[in-house]
Symmetry: C2
Subunit: 159 residues, 2 copies
Amino acid sequence: MGTERTQKLSASLEDYLEAIFNLADDAGGARSKDIAAMLGVARSSVTGALQLLCDKGLANHEPYGRVTLTQQGEAVAREVVRKHDILTSFFADVLGVERETAQRAACRAEHTLGPEIIGRLLSFIDYVVASGRDGRDIAGEFRLFHGRRFTKRVKGMVK
Amino acid sequence: MGTERTQKLSASLEDYLEAIFNLADDAGGARSKDIAAMLGVARSSVTGALQLLCDKGLANHEPYGRVTLTQQGEAVAREVVRKHDILTSFFADVLGVERETAQRAACRAEHTLGPEIIGRLLSFIDYVVASGRDGRDIAGEFRLFHGRRFTKRVKGMVK
DNA sequence: TGACAAAGTTAGCTATACCTAACTATACTG
DNA sequence: CAGTATAGTTAGGTATAGCTAACTTTGTCA
Protein backbone atom coordinates (compact mmCIF):
# COMPACT_ATOMS: atom_id res chain seq x y z
CA MET A 1 0.00 0.00 0.00
CA GLY A 2 0.91 3.69 -0.13
CA THR A 3 3.41 5.28 2.17
CA GLU A 4 0.80 6.62 4.51
CA ARG A 5 -2.61 5.07 4.70
CA THR A 6 -5.28 7.57 3.74
CA GLN A 7 -6.06 8.44 7.35
CA LYS A 8 -9.28 10.37 7.87
CA LEU A 9 -8.82 14.08 7.39
CA SER A 10 -10.57 16.70 9.46
CA ALA A 11 -13.27 18.76 7.78
CA SER A 12 -10.98 21.73 8.07
CA LEU A 13 -8.08 20.10 6.24
CA GLU A 14 -10.45 18.87 3.55
CA ASP A 15 -11.50 22.47 3.05
CA TYR A 16 -7.90 23.53 2.62
CA LEU A 17 -7.32 20.76 0.11
CA GLU A 18 -10.39 21.81 -1.84
CA ALA A 19 -9.32 25.45 -1.84
CA ILE A 20 -5.81 24.62 -3.02
CA PHE A 21 -7.28 22.46 -5.75
CA ASN A 22 -9.61 25.22 -6.91
CA LEU A 23 -6.81 27.79 -6.94
CA ALA A 24 -4.31 25.49 -8.60
CA ASP A 25 -4.78 26.83 -12.11
CA ASP A 26 -3.00 30.01 -11.13
CA ALA A 27 0.60 29.91 -12.28
CA GLY A 28 2.62 27.40 -10.33
CA GLY A 29 0.13 26.63 -7.60
CA ALA A 30 -2.04 28.36 -5.06
CA ARG A 31 -1.02 31.37 -3.03
CA SER A 32 -1.39 31.29 0.73
CA LYS A 33 -3.11 34.63 0.69
CA ASP A 34 -5.78 33.42 -1.73
CA ILE A 35 -6.41 30.28 0.27
CA ALA A 36 -6.94 32.46 3.32
CA ALA A 37 -9.36 34.68 1.42
CA MET A 38 -11.27 31.72 0.00
CA LEU A 39 -11.72 30.08 3.38
CA GLY A 40 -12.13 33.29 5.34
CA VAL A 41 -9.31 32.58 7.78
CA ALA A 42 -6.16 34.47 8.76
CA ARG A 43 -3.02 33.98 6.68
CA SER A 44 -1.29 32.48 9.67
CA SER A 45 -3.92 29.78 9.91
CA VAL A 46 -3.10 28.77 6.36
CA THR A 47 0.58 28.44 7.20
CA GLY A 48 -0.32 26.04 10.00
CA ALA A 49 -2.68 23.98 7.88
CA LEU A 50 -0.14 23.72 5.06
CA GLN A 51 2.37 22.29 7.48
CA LEU A 52 -0.10 19.59 8.44
CA LEU A 53 -0.95 18.80 4.83
CA CYS A 54 2.73 18.53 3.97
CA ASP A 55 3.34 16.26 6.95
CA LYS A 56 0.58 14.00 5.67
CA GLY A 57 2.08 13.96 2.21
CA LEU A 58 -0.88 15.71 0.62
CA ALA A 59 0.67 19.05 -0.32
CA ASN A 60 4.00 20.45 -1.45
CA HIS A 61 5.05 23.74 -0.01
CA GLU A 62 8.37 25.34 0.72
CA PRO A 63 8.40 28.56 2.75
CA TYR A 64 7.34 31.61 0.76
CA GLY A 65 6.50 29.43 -2.22
CA ARG A 66 3.32 28.44 -4.01
CA VAL A 67 1.33 25.44 -2.85
CA THR A 68 0.65 22.41 -4.98
CA LEU A 69 -0.98 19.10 -4.19
CA THR A 70 0.74 15.75 -4.30
CA GLN A 71 -0.90 13.02 -6.33
CA GLN A 72 -2.45 11.69 -3.18
CA GLY A 73 -3.58 15.15 -2.13
CA GLU A 74 -5.13 15.77 -5.49
CA ALA A 75 -6.99 12.47 -5.31
CA VAL A 76 -8.48 13.44 -1.97
CA ALA A 77 -9.28 16.94 -3.22
CA ARG A 78 -11.05 15.55 -6.27
CA GLU A 79 -13.17 13.38 -4.06
CA VAL A 80 -14.10 16.36 -1.88
CA VAL A 81 -14.94 18.44 -4.93
CA ARG A 82 -16.99 15.58 -6.29
CA LYS A 83 -19.02 15.36 -3.09
CA HIS A 84 -19.39 19.11 -3.13
CA ASP A 85 -20.70 19.11 -6.69
CA ILE A 86 -23.07 16.22 -6.10
CA LEU A 87 -24.55 17.89 -3.04
CA THR A 88 -24.80 21.27 -4.73
CA SER A 89 -26.54 19.67 -7.66
CA PHE A 90 -28.95 17.82 -5.43
CA PHE A 91 -29.82 20.89 -3.38
CA ALA A 92 -30.13 23.17 -6.39
CA ASP A 93 -31.33 20.97 -9.23
CA VAL A 94 -33.55 18.57 -7.32
CA LEU A 95 -34.65 20.49 -4.24
CA GLY A 96 -34.69 23.79 -6.12
CA VAL A 97 -32.65 25.73 -3.60
CA GLU A 98 -30.96 28.88 -4.82
CA ARG A 99 -27.52 27.98 -6.24
CA GLU A 100 -25.55 30.13 -3.84
CA THR A 101 -27.35 28.68 -0.81
CA ALA A 102 -26.87 25.19 -2.20
CA GLN A 103 -23.14 25.83 -2.59
CA ARG A 104 -22.70 26.92 0.98
CA ALA A 105 -24.74 24.06 2.38
CA ALA A 106 -22.79 21.58 0.28
CA CYS A 107 -19.57 22.97 1.66
CA ARG A 108 -20.69 22.25 5.19
CA ALA A 109 -22.32 18.87 4.55
CA GLU A 110 -19.71 17.42 2.23
CA HIS A 111 -17.49 16.36 5.10
CA THR A 112 -20.14 14.38 6.89
CA LEU A 113 -21.48 12.06 4.22
CA GLY A 114 -19.85 8.78 3.32
CA PRO A 115 -19.53 7.08 -0.04
CA GLU A 116 -22.69 5.04 0.31
CA ILE A 117 -24.99 8.04 0.61
CA ILE A 118 -23.03 10.16 -1.85
CA GLY A 119 -23.23 7.35 -4.35
CA ARG A 120 -26.97 7.05 -3.97
CA LEU A 121 -27.40 10.78 -4.15
CA LEU A 122 -25.54 10.86 -7.44
CA SER A 123 -27.66 8.02 -8.66
CA PHE A 124 -30.78 9.84 -7.56
CA ILE A 125 -29.81 12.98 -9.45
CA ASP A 126 -29.31 10.87 -12.56
CA TYR A 127 -32.68 9.27 -11.96
CA VAL A 128 -34.35 12.66 -11.69
CA VAL A 129 -32.62 13.86 -14.84
CA ALA A 130 -33.68 10.70 -16.63
CA SER A 131 -37.23 11.28 -15.45
CA GLY A 132 -37.16 14.59 -17.28
CA ARG A 133 -36.22 12.85 -20.51
CA ASP A 134 -38.94 10.26 -19.97
CA GLY A 135 -41.60 12.93 -20.01
CA ARG A 136 -42.11 13.33 -16.29
CA ASP A 137 -39.98 16.01 -14.76
CA ILE A 138 -39.68 15.06 -11.11
CA ALA A 139 -37.70 18.13 -10.14
CA GLY A 140 -40.18 20.48 -11.78
CA GLU A 141 -43.12 18.58 -10.39
CA PHE A 142 -41.63 18.80 -6.92
CA ARG A 143 -41.09 22.55 -7.25
CA LEU A 144 -44.78 22.91 -7.89
CA PHE A 145 -45.62 20.61 -4.99
CA HIS A 146 -43.34 22.53 -2.66
CA GLY A 147 -44.40 25.92 -3.95
CA ARG A 148 -48.06 25.14 -3.44
CA ARG A 149 -47.56 24.03 0.13
CA PHE A 150 -45.21 26.87 0.91
CA THR A 151 -47.70 29.41 -0.41
CA LYS A 152 -50.42 27.93 1.76
CA ARG A 153 -48.28 28.16 4.85
CA VAL A 154 -47.01 31.65 4.28
CA LYS A 155 -50.32 33.14 3.23
CA GLY A 156 -51.19 35.87 5.66
CA MET A 157 -47.99 35.61 7.66
CA VAL A 158 -46.22 38.81 8.53
CA LYS A 159 -42.92 37.28 9.41
CA MET B 1 -36.91 38.65 23.88
CA GLY B 2 -35.62 35.76 25.98
CA THR B 3 -32.89 36.10 28.52
CA GLU B 4 -30.20 34.75 26.24
CA ARG B 5 -30.56 34.95 22.52
CA THR B 6 -30.50 31.49 20.92
CA GLN B 7 -26.82 31.71 20.05
CA LYS B 8 -25.58 29.03 17.67
CA LEU B 9 -24.68 25.83 19.42
CA SER B 10 -21.76 23.64 18.48
CA ALA B 11 -22.51 20.31 16.86
CA SER B 12 -21.24 18.67 19.98
CA LEU B 13 -23.61 20.49 22.32
CA GLU B 14 -26.49 19.76 19.98
CA ASP B 15 -25.62 16.10 20.29
CA TYR B 16 -25.73 16.32 24.07
CA LEU B 17 -29.09 18.04 23.92
CA GLU B 18 -30.44 15.37 21.64
CA ALA B 19 -29.15 12.60 23.88
CA ILE B 20 -30.65 14.18 26.99
CA PHE B 21 -33.93 14.56 25.17
CA ASN B 22 -33.94 10.94 24.08
CA LEU B 23 -33.13 9.73 27.57
CA ALA B 24 -35.58 12.02 29.27
CA ASP B 25 -38.35 9.45 29.64
CA ASP B 26 -36.35 7.70 32.29
CA ALA B 27 -37.61 8.72 35.73
CA GLY B 28 -36.71 12.28 36.56
CA GLY B 29 -34.36 13.00 33.68
CA ALA B 30 -31.31 11.59 32.00
CA ARG B 31 -28.34 10.08 33.75
CA SER B 32 -24.87 11.30 32.99
CA LYS B 33 -23.65 7.77 32.53
CA ASP B 34 -26.27 7.03 29.89
CA ILE B 35 -25.52 10.21 28.02
CA ALA B 36 -21.87 9.18 27.96
CA ALA B 37 -22.79 5.75 26.67
CA MET B 38 -25.13 7.11 24.02
CA LEU B 39 -22.56 9.53 22.66
CA GLY B 40 -19.55 7.30 23.19
CA VAL B 41 -17.63 9.76 25.33
CA ALA B 42 -16.10 9.63 28.79
CA ARG B 43 -18.30 10.46 31.77
CA SER B 44 -16.12 13.44 32.56
CA SER B 45 -16.82 14.88 29.14
CA VAL B 46 -20.50 14.81 29.95
CA THR B 47 -19.96 16.73 33.17
CA GLY B 48 -18.19 19.44 31.21
CA ALA B 49 -20.84 19.65 28.53
CA LEU B 50 -23.62 19.81 31.10
CA GLN B 51 -21.95 22.78 32.71
CA LEU B 52 -21.97 24.57 29.35
CA LEU B 53 -25.58 23.69 28.66
CA CYS B 54 -26.59 24.95 32.11
CA ASP B 55 -24.67 28.17 31.58
CA LYS B 56 -26.58 28.69 28.37
CA GLY B 57 -29.86 28.06 30.11
CA LEU B 58 -30.62 24.94 28.12
CA ALA B 59 -30.34 22.28 30.81
CA ASN B 60 -30.97 21.86 34.51
CA HIS B 61 -28.47 19.90 36.48
CA GLU B 62 -27.29 19.94 40.04
CA PRO B 63 -24.25 17.88 40.97
CA TYR B 64 -24.97 14.17 41.24
CA GLY B 65 -28.52 14.72 40.02
CA ARG B 66 -30.46 13.82 36.92
CA VAL B 67 -30.40 16.10 33.91
CA THR B 68 -33.46 17.75 32.45
CA LEU B 69 -33.89 20.30 29.71
CA THR B 70 -35.24 23.78 30.15
CA GLN B 71 -38.08 24.86 27.90
CA GLN B 72 -35.58 26.53 25.65
CA GLY B 73 -33.31 23.49 25.70
CA GLU B 74 -36.19 21.24 24.83
CA ALA B 75 -37.16 23.48 21.94
CA VAL B 76 -33.65 23.26 20.52
CA ALA B 77 -33.53 19.51 21.13
CA ARG B 78 -36.82 19.00 19.32
CA GLU B 79 -35.49 20.88 16.35
CA VAL B 80 -32.35 18.72 16.29
CA VAL B 81 -34.42 15.56 16.56
CA ARG B 82 -36.67 16.82 13.80
CA LYS B 83 -33.71 17.36 11.50
CA HIS B 84 -32.40 13.97 12.45
CA ASP B 85 -35.67 12.27 11.63
CA ILE B 86 -36.11 14.09 8.34
CA LEU B 87 -32.62 13.18 7.23
CA THR B 88 -32.95 9.60 8.36
CA SER B 89 -36.21 9.30 6.49
CA PHE B 90 -34.74 10.80 3.36
CA PHE B 91 -31.69 8.56 3.40
CA ALA B 92 -33.66 5.42 4.24
CA ASP B 93 -37.08 5.89 2.66
CA VAL B 94 -36.10 7.80 -0.45
CA LEU B 95 -32.51 6.83 -1.15
CA GLY B 96 -33.05 3.32 0.17
CA VAL B 97 -30.06 3.25 2.47
CA GLU B 98 -30.11 0.72 5.27
CA ARG B 99 -31.84 2.27 8.31
CA GLU B 100 -28.88 1.95 10.65
CA THR B 101 -26.54 3.61 8.13
CA ALA B 102 -29.12 6.32 7.51
CA GLN B 103 -29.36 7.00 11.24
CA ARG B 104 -25.65 7.45 11.63
CA ALA B 105 -25.32 9.67 8.59
CA ALA B 106 -28.24 11.79 9.77
CA CYS B 107 -26.53 12.24 13.12
CA ARG B 108 -23.47 13.69 11.43
CA ALA B 109 -25.24 15.78 8.81
CA GLU B 110 -28.01 17.18 10.98
CA HIS B 111 -25.78 19.91 12.38
CA THR B 112 -24.75 21.27 9.03
CA LEU B 113 -28.05 21.84 7.26
CA GLY B 114 -30.12 24.97 7.74
CA PRO B 115 -33.88 25.38 7.82
CA GLU B 116 -34.21 26.10 4.12
CA ILE B 117 -32.78 22.79 3.00
CA ILE B 118 -34.34 20.82 5.83
CA GLY B 119 -37.71 22.30 4.93
CA ARG B 120 -37.36 21.32 1.31
CA LEU B 121 -36.15 17.88 2.22
CA LEU B 122 -39.23 17.35 4.34
CA SER B 123 -41.36 18.59 1.51
CA PHE B 124 -39.57 16.27 -0.87
CA ILE B 125 -40.21 13.25 1.32
CA ASP B 126 -43.89 14.17 1.39
CA TYR B 127 -43.81 14.53 -2.36
CA VAL B 128 -42.29 11.09 -2.76
CA VAL B 129 -44.84 9.58 -0.38
CA ALA B 130 -47.64 11.30 -2.26
CA SER B 131 -46.24 9.93 -5.50
CA GLY B 132 -46.74 6.46 -4.08
CA ARG B 133 -50.41 7.17 -3.46
CA ASP B 134 -50.76 8.58 -6.96
CA GLY B 135 -49.76 5.31 -8.49
CA ARG B 136 -46.16 6.07 -9.24
CA ASP B 137 -43.80 5.07 -6.50
CA ILE B 138 -40.76 7.27 -6.97
CA ALA B 139 -38.79 5.68 -4.15
CA GLY B 140 -39.40 2.19 -5.46
CA GLU B 141 -38.70 3.24 -9.01
CA PHE B 142 -35.43 4.80 -7.93
CA ARG B 143 -34.40 1.67 -6.09
CA LEU B 144 -34.77 -0.25 -9.33
CA PHE B 145 -32.89 2.43 -11.22
CA HIS B 146 -30.08 2.41 -8.70
CA GLY B 147 -30.03 -1.33 -8.34
CA ARG B 148 -29.74 -1.85 -12.09
CA ARG B 149 -26.83 0.54 -12.39
CA PHE B 150 -25.14 -0.82 -9.31
CA THR B 151 -25.45 -4.37 -10.59
CA LYS B 152 -23.90 -3.37 -13.89
CA ARG B 153 -20.98 -1.77 -12.14
CA VAL B 154 -20.31 -4.52 -9.74
CA LYS B 155 -20.71 -7.38 -12.21
CA GLY B 156 -17.46 -9.27 -12.37
CA MET B 157 -15.78 -7.25 -9.68
CA VAL B 158 -13.96 -9.08 -6.96
CA LYS B 159 -13.78 -6.23 -4.53
C1' DT C 1 19.01 50.13 -5.98
C1' DG C 2 16.87 51.09 -1.94
C1' DA C 3 12.65 51.77 0.27
C1' DC C 4 8.18 50.31 0.92
C1' DA C 5 4.21 47.36 0.41
C1' DA C 6 2.55 42.91 0.24
C1' DA C 7 2.93 38.19 1.38
C1' DG C 8 4.28 34.77 4.46
C1' DT C 9 5.88 33.11 8.95
C1' DT C 10 6.43 32.76 13.95
C1' DA C 11 5.13 33.10 18.62
C1' DG C 12 1.89 33.06 21.79
C1' DC C 13 -2.93 33.11 23.08
C1' DT C 14 -7.98 31.35 23.10
C1' DA C 15 -11.72 28.11 22.79
C1' DT C 16 -13.68 23.60 22.01
C1' DA C 17 -13.84 19.04 23.00
C1' DC C 18 -12.05 15.32 24.10
C1' DC C 19 -9.16 12.09 27.33
C1' DT C 20 -7.18 9.58 31.86
C1' DA C 21 -6.48 9.23 36.65
C1' DA C 22 -7.73 10.25 41.02
C1' DC C 23 -11.06 11.59 44.02
C1' DT C 24 -15.94 12.03 46.15
C1' DA C 25 -20.69 11.16 46.61
C1' DT C 26 -24.52 7.99 46.25
C1' DA C 27 -26.82 3.67 46.21
C1' DC C 28 -27.15 -1.11 47.09
C1' DT C 29 -26.78 -5.05 49.79
C1' DG C 30 -25.38 -8.54 53.10
C1' DC D 1 -25.46 0.34 58.82
C1' DA D 2 -20.91 -0.56 57.00
C1' DG D 3 -18.56 -1.58 53.04
C1' DT D 4 -18.21 -1.72 48.36
C1' DA D 5 -19.53 -0.87 43.72
C1' DT D 6 -21.24 2.55 40.75
C1' DA D 7 -21.91 7.13 39.31
C1' DG D 8 -20.30 11.65 39.05
C1' DT D 9 -16.75 15.21 39.51
C1' DT D 10 -12.24 17.46 39.39
C1' DA D 11 -7.74 18.27 37.83
C1' DG D 12 -4.70 18.26 34.42
C1' DG D 13 -3.34 16.97 29.81
C1' DT D 14 -3.75 16.58 24.45
C1' DA D 15 -5.19 17.87 19.83
C1' DT D 16 -7.46 20.85 16.55
C1' DA D 17 -8.29 25.18 14.76
C1' DG D 18 -8.56 29.45 14.93
C1' DC D 19 -6.84 34.42 16.22
C1' DT D 20 -3.55 38.86 16.71
C1' DA D 21 0.78 41.05 16.67
C1' DA D 22 5.30 41.20 15.46
C1' DC D 23 8.56 39.77 12.54
C1' DT D 24 10.92 38.27 7.96
C1' DT D 25 11.02 37.59 3.17
C1' DT D 26 9.87 38.85 -1.44
C1' DG D 27 8.67 41.75 -5.10
C1' DT D 28 7.94 46.23 -7.21
C1' DC D 29 9.06 50.65 -8.85
C1' DA D 30 10.55 55.44 -8.53
